[in-house]
Amino acid sequence: MSALLSVQGLTVRAGDKTLVSDLSFSIGAGERMGLIGESGSGKSMTAMAVTGLLPANISVSGSIVLDGQEVVGADEKHLNRLRGVATAVVFQEPLTALDPLMKIGKQIAEPVRRRLARDGQRPSRAAIDREVLDLLDKVALPQSERIANAYPHEVSGGQRQRVAIAMALACRPRLLIADEPTTALDVTTQAEILRLLDGLVRETGMALLFISHDLPVVAQVVERVMVLRDGVALEEGAVVDVFASPSHDYTRTLVDAARMFDEALGGTGS
């Protein structure tokens, strides 16, 4: 069986500046892969290329086959049929990723409605509302009705990120892309969100592309990692192998930095 996502020779350019160069990787159904690298290394560019949502000034070459369909060069109509179906994305900054003027319940309801409609149903308001509340429960938000009726600024950062995850889950994507989903959160909330994501991915069997600059974070949720620097893939392999015996200096610095950070914190890492 072919992979759910297969990226071949992906190159992303802004003008004559190369942001991602000749990147290749694939993710099978239900597989969990991490993309790590310091800020500016092209992780988000790679993620957005997969959804076909790169800014207009950016050009892409190579091939991205998602769920059997080529993304590079595809028209909006085709891409829109993939978005929310094959992939959904959780972003770094949960406050700005939610519409400030729309109640949380309504924001989650839209992808739910779209998915049910896609399955050939004409969902009733009640059915959608029920599913929205279910989703809020699933991301462990207590008092789901109250949250559904709140606006994004009325709940905490961690709760907002749970809402964003609920929105992504509402799509029931085959691949969930999480672009630094815990970076904007405090350490305790970070751990909670990671545990939640980990559990949900296992439970639903969806594949995960987890992006982070933070090695220990990535190690907690994925099986395989790819290390990116300046848009170039340095190495790729099982988490344990890459972390135990990094073959590249850059990876080694990342590992060392993470270890030192852990030791400074009293060795509470994974």
Binding site: G84, A97, D99, H153
Partner: protein, 283 residues
């Protein structure tokens, strides 16, 4: 996480004083306008007293130089003002918002062209536009005035919409919504329009007031509603010659005009605050 953390401190949606005053002023205008459809104190077209009578119990605001009741004229003027303001803003909003949204989505080149065109249109004098519309429609009427004002407003609204929509389209939540499969029309309806509405609606109220005032100038030049449609603008102009002998004739329609314009602005401001869920937070 305790239940305490979840309490949602949304400020009670209490009506502000400004909103109440706005509602009262605009509501009064609408009520009077509706009333004139069925009843006016006197016949608006024929003399009901002596010329230029001072205010009295019979004629609360006096009579004009043809002996017609002023209050009756002002009441009908309220109807004209509402029709002009609403009609012009409706035309301006429909054309302006559509063009503005299209420009926000247009390619760089097309957008530049549209932006430049709008700037030229906005600089184009409304008066000249009105003359063109009247010339094109053979005769001056209330409707030619409304159309001219609506077109003038549409350029202003289009420019504002374009800027506001572009700002919204750059937001993260647009990309987030797109990644879950929202189409461009869906993005406009669900995110762009609701997020630009608070600013747009205040501008509409402003344009409403300006349209009512502009209609007055057009009427004076014979480019607005011809008699017997009483408009506050024409009342003001007619009272010019007698402003020293019968000042009430100029003051009364002036007050009515200012009251409606202020009322409209207070209403729009108040409604925006009530409709803004982030109110009470830093904005």
């Amino acid at each position: 996480m305790s239940a305490q953390d979840l309490s949602i401190d949304r400020p009670a949606r209490k009506h502000s004083l400004a909103l109440s005053i706005g509602l009262a002023l605009v509501g009064l205008n609408v009520a009077v306008a509706l009333l004139t459809l069925f009843w006016t104190p006197y016949d608006p077209l024929n003399a009901s007293g002596g010329r230029l009578e001072a205010p009295s119990l019979l004629h609360w605001v006096g009579t004009d130089r043809l002996g017609r009741d002023y209050l009756t004229q002002i009441m009908i003027g309220a109807r004209t003002a509402l029709i002009v303001g609403t009609g012009a803003v409706a035309i301006g909003a429909t054309i302006g918002v559509t063009l503005g949204i299209l420009a926000a989505f247009a390619t760089r080149l097309l957008d530049d062209v549209m932006a430049a065109t709008l700037d030229i249109l906005i600089a184009f004098p409304t008066l000249l536009l009105a003359m063109l519309v009247v010339a094109a429609s053979d005769s001056a009427s209330l409707w030619s005035a409304i159309l001219a004002l609506g077109l003038a407003i549409s350029a202003i609204v289009a420019r504002l919409t374009r800027i506001l929509a572009k700002r919204v389209l750059r937001q993260d939540y647009i990309v987030a919504s797109r990644t879950s499969g929202t189409s461009w029309p869906g993005v406009v309806l669900r995110h762009v329009l609701p997020n630009i509405w608070p600013t747009l609606s205040v501008n509409f109220a402003l344009q409403f007031g300006l349209a009512v005032i502009a209609e007055a100038s057009l009427s004076y030049l014979g480019l607005g509603a011809p008699p017997p449609n009483a408009s506050w603008g024409r009342l003001l102009q007619e009272a010019q010659g007698t402003v020293y002998t019968a000042p009430v004739g100029a003051i009364a329609p002036g007050i009515a005009l200012v009251a409606l314009v202020i009322g409209m602005n207070l209403l729009a401001d108040g409604l925006r605050d009530v409709g803004d869920p982030t109110r009470g937070r830093s904005r």
